[in-house]
Amino acid sequence: MLTPSAMPRPALRHETVLLAVVLLEWLCFHALGPRFGTLENSFDLLRHSAEIGLLALAMTPVILTGGIDLSVGSLLGLCAVLYGKLWRDAGLDPGAAAGCTLALGALAGGLNAALIAGLRLPPLIVTLGTYSLFRGLAEAITRGADTFTNFPASFLFLGQERWLGLPSQAWLFAAVAAAVWLLVHRTTFGRACRAHGFAPEGARHAGLPAGRQLAAVYMLSGLIAALAAVIYTARLGQARADAGTGYELLAITAVVLGGTSIFGGRGTVHGTLLGVAALAILNNGLVHARQPREVAGLLTGALLLLALAAGTAPRLGTAWRARRAPHPSPS
């Protein structure tokens, strides 16, 4: 093991390494697949990564507080089903149904919040429970079989068409990304999230409103998951209980690839965005390179290790960090 002082100073920020990886990927696939770089394909890339991207954005502040939200994928499924219910069975118009779905998503996030911030239960267990609960509710509501479809074109516009030259959901995604970036990097809220992630007791002693803080973060996560559900429904033109299965892991992958420490405190929103981009380009590009899906999986694994090894190992070296966790710990 490296002793703290023997480790080199960080040569490059993790985000820089990741940016290089993203560019490299782009060039590589551009060379391999003649149609990879087309505008068409770039737009599709954007559309395909919107939902995972949103979930990853939602997850970033959560992980910064030292928590985790395993329930986002299931909540996406539940919200998709709720949206279908509200529109088809309750007869709301698509806009109103979307509004209600967002509120319900925040409410569901509120359940996580109540258990984590109110009862001070560990986030991992709570969201493991709601991971199952939300998916289960989605299945119970539809009995597993019901599919909502035939949404009006005005709603599908949101997922399938372009607005001002870009896929419509790209605008929403950009707005959420900007909002989360500002929240995390430019407000006292984000600062307090980090403080809590590094040392919950220390943050409490500083008089930070730990409970409210955590509650807000998990409710925000619910809200964004609901938004992702609406976009997902609009993109596929259908809502079903299995929507978003396994997305939580993809979102977490993007976040940790983006350099956020799973133990909290450390991480950036732009890192997360780069992480999302790296994974999305990989998945899309390999189709253009005519490689089977499994290769995407294998390369995801390799990419995770390489990017982190390049970016994290030197950063672990700052002695004060290593002093707290000289054996490996996520950075």
């Binding site: 430019r186 809220f189 600062r191 980090r194 409490r204 500083a206 960090r321």
Partner: protein
């Protein structure tokens, strides 16, 4: 004369760009207490962390018994008979006291069987030796700062080492424990053990040390027999200049009562029936033995462990803070005694740490204003003489004393009505201590009410307008400012009969 027990030659060590040690020579003889002095950030802890193998030096040699010991690691140092009490207790919060001791003391392969009864017996014996009445089954996370320090001391004693290093062992200990520790140190010296002793309480040097080495900015400014030195000389060696009169006098008499406590208590923390008035502009010192309940009282006031009995009246209104956030909104501020766990957030930059409690004041509307924050940080770095990194160095990279200054800066910036200081100058060097004293006195002069909890008896007596003494979870006496150490100790030990009120 035989080879010294330990001999360091031209040790150098840098952290990134910062040079903590610039070629230090040091030696320790068997059967001596060698004091290591210096300002905050002078490199004392770095030096001993090299001795114990916690850090690897960049250059220089370490010799034990005249034989060069290659670069040490903690295990190797342990085998050479080196034991250490670290400035930051290096304990396992999730494990019991007995196990903490055992992990540091037991040797042998990792496939050996663990003898729990023996562990507990040994722990009980060691705790008794340092005078700590602690149940060895208790988890360390539940211990208060001084209790942790006692466990650390027990660790160092139990090791039966030939070289014992103590990095500010008494920072959070009261007179009684301190005296007891001195006895133990003398005992070790008599057995031929070499002791390296670091402290910022100069009075300890003269009762304990045989020789003194002073570090300044990572260099040794000389080693002298303690008997040849006077306090002013020592200070000049450390700081390089004279330090003004240590305790500034009160400028004007206290005003009206800001804080009234009546029969305040909380069952599970053992505090009960505390009645007390604290006036604007007054510094009320709180003395007592470890476990007397002073910290617990502060935690009650600050809403960390809300009261379940009695009343708190703040500026004429009855309040009961249920969380630190509420307490802060009411105008309370609390500098906790455990700075590593509570006082600062080690991974956050210094600037973020210092502004953490004043977000509303510094950043109206919740938007960060980096420029304002930077100015604010640079101001207090200058005022408190914080050394070892700019505004964006992580707090954890500062030396212990400098971290303490950051913890203080955070709360001074909030502009509170009542300031509770729990061991505010633990580990702070003499120069900075005087600076802090002046600052606190000035704030009091501006009408702030200060509750000063300190185990540094001269400090309590020197700074306070009145001195409260706690024992067994309640306030047993309030002494006037001309109390002597003896009367305070007598009250703390329960020998006082004239409970002046």
């Amino acid at each position: 004369m035989s080879a010294p027990l330990l001999e360091l030659r031209r040790l150098t060590k840098s952290f990134g760009g910062a040079r903590a040690l610039r070629g230090v020579d040091f030696d320790l003889r068997a059967g001596e207490v060698h004091a290591l002095l210096g300002e905050n950030g002078a490199g004392k802890s770095t030096l001993i962390r090299i001795i114990t193998g916690a850090h690897r030096p960049d250059g220089g040699t370490v010799a034990v018994d005249g034989r060069p010991a290659g670069p040490l690691d903690p295990r190797g140092a342990h085998q050479l008979g080196i034991a250490c009490i670290y400035q930051q207790p290096a304990l396992f919060p999730d494990l019991s006291i007995a196990e903490n001791l055992a992990l540091r003391l037991e040797t042998g392969g990792s496939l050996r069987r663990v003898d729990w009864p023996a562990r507990h017996r040994r722990a009980t014996a060691l705790l008794e030796r340092v005078g700590a009445r602690l149940d060895p089954h208790r988890e360390v996370r539940d211990l208060s700062m001084p209790e942790q320090q006692l466990v650390e001391i027990a660790c160092a004693l139990g090791a039966g080492a030939r070289i014992v290093v103590m990095d500010e062992p008494t920072a959070a200990l009261t007179q009684a424990e301190q005296t007891r520790l001195h006895g133990v140190v003398r005992e070790l010296r008599a057995q031929g053990t070499g002791v390296i002793y670091i402290t910022h309480r100069l009075e300890e040097i003269f009762v304990l040390a045989d020789r003194v080495t002073v570090l300044r900015d990572g260099e040794s400014v000389g080693t002298r027999p303690a008997a040849d030195l006077t306090e002013p000389e020592l200070i000049r060696l450390m700081v390089g200049r004279e330090v003004a009169q240590p305790y500034p006098p009160a400028e004007r008499p206290p005003g009206g009562a800001v804080l009234r406590l009546r029969r305040l208590g909380r069952r599970d923390s053992g505090v009960h029936d505390v009645s007390l008035d604290l006036h604007a502009g007054e510094i009320l010192g709180l003395a007592g033995l470890v476990g007397a309940g002073r910290t617990e009282l502060a935690r009650i006031l600050f809403g960390l462990t809300p009261a379940d009995a009695g009343t708190i009246e703040l500026l004429g209104r009855t309040v009961r803070p249920r969380s630190p956030r509420e307490a802060v909104e009411m105008g309370l501020a609390y500098v906790p005694e455990d700075r590593r766990r509570h006082g600062v957030i080690l991974d956050l930059p210094l600037a973020h740490n210092a502004s953490l409690a004043s977000h509303r004041r510094l950043f109206p509307g919740g938007w960060l204003r980096p420029a304002a924050e930077r100015r604010f940080t640079e101001d207090f770095i200058r005022d408190l003489g914080i050394r070892g990194g700019g505004p964006f160095a992580p707090a954890g990279s500062l030396s212990g004393g400098n971290q303490q200054k950051v913890a203080l800066a955070r709360w001074l910036a909030t502009g509170p009505r009542v300031l509770i200081l729990d061991e505010p100058t633990q580990g702070v060097d003499i120069g900075a201590k005087a600076e802090i004293h002046r600052l606190v006195r000035r704030l009091a002069g501006e009408g702030l009410a200060v509750l000063l909890i300190s185990s540094d008896l001269p400090e309590v007596i020197g700074m306070s307008d009145r001195i409260g003494v706690m024992r067994g979870g309640t306030l047993t006496a309030v002494l006037p400012r001309d109390a002597t150490p003896d009367t305070v100790m007598a009250a703390a030990l329960g020998r006082a009969t004239e409970a002046a009120r």
